[in-house]
């Protein structure tokens, strides 16, 4: 009597599951040899282009640890959308923006990307920042056959037909940064970075470069994201005999690192630091006095002299306030929306396949200079700029590559990079 009969409960549930699961079987990967059929079954587009408007999605973290960076990208995207709408829209249709919060979590990015594509039926999505957010979204865009425009410099080694990468890949930022140090006669480089995918991959590339170019890597140290005690690392740096530092630290860690660096009596002249994650936005947070005279590697600075940049900075300050600055990821995001518009106009369609077809060779006079889309790997050709942080908190170009560098995400054109990917 005291024994309940759990089987009475569990059995129907199990049976029901099995029956439904078996009856609901879809295509198997081994039988679906035709990838086009698979993507068609998953990605019947529901984009509505019959009216006066067309929907696009902006997906950035508005909460969580990345919000402080990604909000600036959202601002730049909003500005670009307003400009395009004021200018008559795309193919005569006004842009209707649907904004979503990625909450600094990869799973949320994947969920919201799917929502934008499947539920809101947007023609394209703009956003993402961290590598993990992009990696989480990639399968969604491929399965649903939609388009993502990703605006941040990253570690390369990726090329999806459904993503356009408008930030730098490694041969447009990391490699020129090393070229610059080599030109300056530096032979002993110390690597310091946050412990995640971008710094580890960047340092793998730097090690290969150094070996081929007679540069010695005298130390390679990683700190967890958000780490703020750099006394050990700076001590190692001091004792290493390095004549330059390549810094791939991200976020708050930079504040602690540069303070410790200054306290240890290291200086920009004896031991310069090249940073790849410090832009105009971050300089204020670190404190100009801690970082003045140090170097950065990017493709855009607010101080770039061009008519397009003057207009962009002026429009941005008018929209968001005089005290705001513009940075590389913001410019890349602003550029990405304009590039999409030009691709659509060249294809005369919002259709994904038509845009992929038309993308090659599309050029835009961006604030950073003229950029060109590479139709093969979906990155864009851009000029590398090494900058020096000034007392005004802005970054001034110190060195520029000879014209725009063709994107090479897998570093196929570099002999020393053989075996890296």
């Amino acid at each position: 009597m005291t024994r309940p009969r759990p089987r009475a409960l569990a059995l129907p549930a199990v049976a029901l599951t099995v029956v439904l699961a078996v009856s609901g079987c879809g295509s198997r990967t081994d039988s679906a040899a035709d990838p086009a059929a698979a993507s068609a079954s998953g990605g019947a587009s529901c984009v509505d282009t019959s009216g006066d408007t067309v929907k696009i999605g902006f997906l950035n973290s508005l909460s969580g640890t990345m919000a402080i960076s990604e909000q600036t990208v959202r601002d730049a995207l909003d500005l670009a959308a307003e400009e395009i709408n004021a200018d008559g829209g795309v193919l005569g249709k006004q842009l209707e923006v649907i904004g979503e919060d990625g909450a600094s979590e990869p799973t949320v990015f994947a969920e919201k990307a799917e929502k934008l594509i499947a539920s809101d039926c947007v023609a394209a999505v703009f956003g993402g920042w961290t590598s993990s957010s992009r990696k989480a979204m990639l399968p969604v865009f491929e399965a649903k056959d939609s388009l993502l425009f990703y605006p941040v410099q990253y570690e390369g080694l990726e090329s999806s037909p459904n993503i356009f990468y408008t930030g730098a890949t490694t041969n447009q930022q990391i490699v020129p940064g090393m070229d610059y140090l080599k030109e300056q006669g530096k032979t002993k480089v110390f690597l310091v970075g946050s412990d995640y995918v971008f710094p580890r991959t960047a340092n793998k590339i730097i090690n290969a470069y150094a070996e081929a170019n007679g540069i010695e890597i005298v130390g390679e140290e990683y700190a967890p994201l958000g780490h703020t005690d750099f006394s050990t690392i700076v001590n190692k740096l001091k004792g290493s005999g390095a004549d330059a530092v390549f810094n791939t630290l991200n976020g708050d860690s930079n504040v602690a690192f540069f303070k410790e660096y200054k306290n240890a009596g290291l200086g920009k002249d004896a031991l310069p630091v090249v940073s790849v994650s410090i832009a105009e936005e971050e300089v204020g947070g670190i404190g100009v006095e801690n970082i003045e005279g140090q170097l950065t590697a990017w493709n855009y600075y607010q101080t770039v002299e061009s008519a397009e940049n003057t207009t962009f900075v002026k429009a941005f300050k008018a929209a968001y306030g005089e005290d705001r600055v513009t940075s590389d990821p913001m410019e890349a995001a602003y550029t990405s929306l304009h590039l999409w518009k030009l691709m659509v106009e060249k294809a005369e369609s919002f259709d994904v396949a038509a845009i992929q077809e038309a993308a090659d060779g599309v050029t835009f006079d961006a604030p950073e200079g003229t950029v060109t889309v590479n139709g093969e790997n979906h990155h864009i050709a851009k000029t590398a700029l090494i900058g020096k942080i000034g007392a005004d908190g802005l970054i001034h170009t110190e060195w520029a590559s000879d014209g725009a560098i063709e994107p090479d995400p897998f570093l196929k054109g570099y002999d020393w990079a053989e075996g890296l990917s």
């Binding site: 549930a13 989480a136 399968p139 412990d195």
Partner: protein, 405 residues
């Protein structure tokens, strides 16, 4: 005494069985009939994700609500299950003898030896259950047999979650680092891009959750369930009666770990990614919030709480991006401050209020009320197995009882 207990249990079972069967029927109709018909593929997949989180919640309900173990580190077991499944999916996508794509990019291009066994689907499925159970049993035994409990256990389990996430991040070559494991194309040979297969995953998740709830119900109304509640409320007395509380706790903790592992394993093909962000301290606490809001000591409170909180998070963040976190915090504070038994105890609290008002006017504060002679349903309010009893009541009565000797 034992005869009394037995009759209480019988009454509970007799009344509860019909109600439970009815509840299962309704849940099955909702999950297998209404949801697939009413929801788009995208929403159905979201619901499937919530069901995976609810599986973790069912386990927490057992370990925390019934067993009093504040499990602040269930992300570890969720992650173990998730990563094991993800490893198999990556290896299966790479083909026989193939190397997963991220290892080619970030590692040295070879598959480490400890990955190899997970090429086999059978080994993987077994490991998804066995590994979390072994880890939980080992850890639980070490902790509970030394009589570590309360806040110390909570801190320990949370530290474990933090350490696990840091370990995963540091071993990028074999775990994918912060990016985690992602980009799965197939699930045991079925194409993940096909919506029909996604629907199948939803049915699997729904069926698994129902089975888990049935298992927990069986445990709750069993002798073990009563012992578990006794250990929660008066561990020393249970020990004096000749039982080993550590064993009781380890079993409940291991069951919770197994459920979390299975939830994590199903989460992977449904969501398409598992990363350290899904296993660390923050997700471990998030698992707990749903359970607390729903009602930790009840059977269905944790499940419904977890689903409701996830659903609210998704829909609120769609309408008010960046506001969700404040709302979640406020809800949690409200529940902890005013409704410690969770939303599931709302009915009981209201009934008690009304009963108190009718008997002796509104001014009298509710005493630890004697069992209502004519309960509105066939529940026995004082019995530990009752699904609607507020834990506050049982806690406070236990506390008074504890002062007697």
């Amino acid at each position: 005494m034992s005869a009394q207990l037995a009759t209480a249990r019988e009454r509970l079972l007799a009344g509860g069985r019909a109600r439970t069967l009815g509840g299962f029927g309704i849940a099955a109709v909702l999950l297998f009939g209404v949801a697939p018909a009413a929801l788009s593929d995208f929403r159905l997949n979201l619901l499937a994700k919530f069901l995976c989180l609810a599986m973790v919640a069912v386990g927490i309900g057992l370990a925390w609500g019934r067993g009093g173990m504040l499990t602040l580190g269930q992300g570890v077991y969720f992650g173990l299950g998730g990563y094991l499944m993800a490893m198999h999916l990556k290896l299966a996508d790479a083909g026989p003898g193939g190397v997963p794509d991220f290892m080619l990019l970030y590692g040295d291009g070879t598959v480490p030896g400890w990955w190899e066994p997970f090429r086999s689907p059978v080994v993987t499925i077994l490991a998804i259950v066995v590994v979390p159970v072994l880890v939980a049993t080992g850890l639980g035994w070490a902790v509970f047999s030394r009589r570590v409990r309360g806040a110390y256990f909570a801190i320990l389990s949370q530290a474990l979650a933090a350490a696990f996430a840091i370990l995963l991040i540091g071993q990028q070559k074999v775990t994918g680092g912060t990016n985690g494991l992602n980009g799965f194309r197939s699930f045991f040979g079925f194409d993940l891009a096909d919506p029909v297969n996604k629907r199948m995953l939803f049915f699997i998740a729904a069926g698994t959750l129902l089975v888990m709830v049935a298992v927990v119900r069986r445990l709750m109304v069993s002798r073990f369930g009563e012992l578990l509640v006794a250990v929660r409320d008066q561990e020393n007395r249970v020990r004096f009666l000749g039982y080993d509380p550590a064993k009781v706790k380890v079993v409940a903790y291991a069951v919770a770990a197994a459920f979390a592992g299975i939830g994590g394993a199903l989460f992977v093909p449904i969501v398409g990614i598992i990363s350290p962000a899904d296993v660390g301290v923050v997700p471990s606490i998030a698992f707990l919030v749903g359970v607390a809001i729903g009602g930790r000591a009840t059977l269905l409170g944790p499940v419904l709480g977890a689903i409701a909180v996830s659903w609210a998070q998704t829909s609120l963040s769609e309408s008010f991006p960046s506001m969700w976190i404040y709302f979640q915090g406020a809800l949690f504070i409200l529940v902890v401050a005013f409704l410690p038994g969770g939303l599931a105890s709302l009915g009981a609290v209201w009934r008690r209020r009304r009963a108190g008002a009718e008997e002796s006017g509104p001014a009298t504060p509710p005493e630890p009320t004697p069992p209502d002679p004519t309960p509105p349903d066939d529940a026995v309010p004082a019995a530990p197995g009752d699904a609607t009893t507020a834990p506050a009541t049982s806690d406070s009565s236990a506390a008074t009882a504890g002062r007697l000797p």
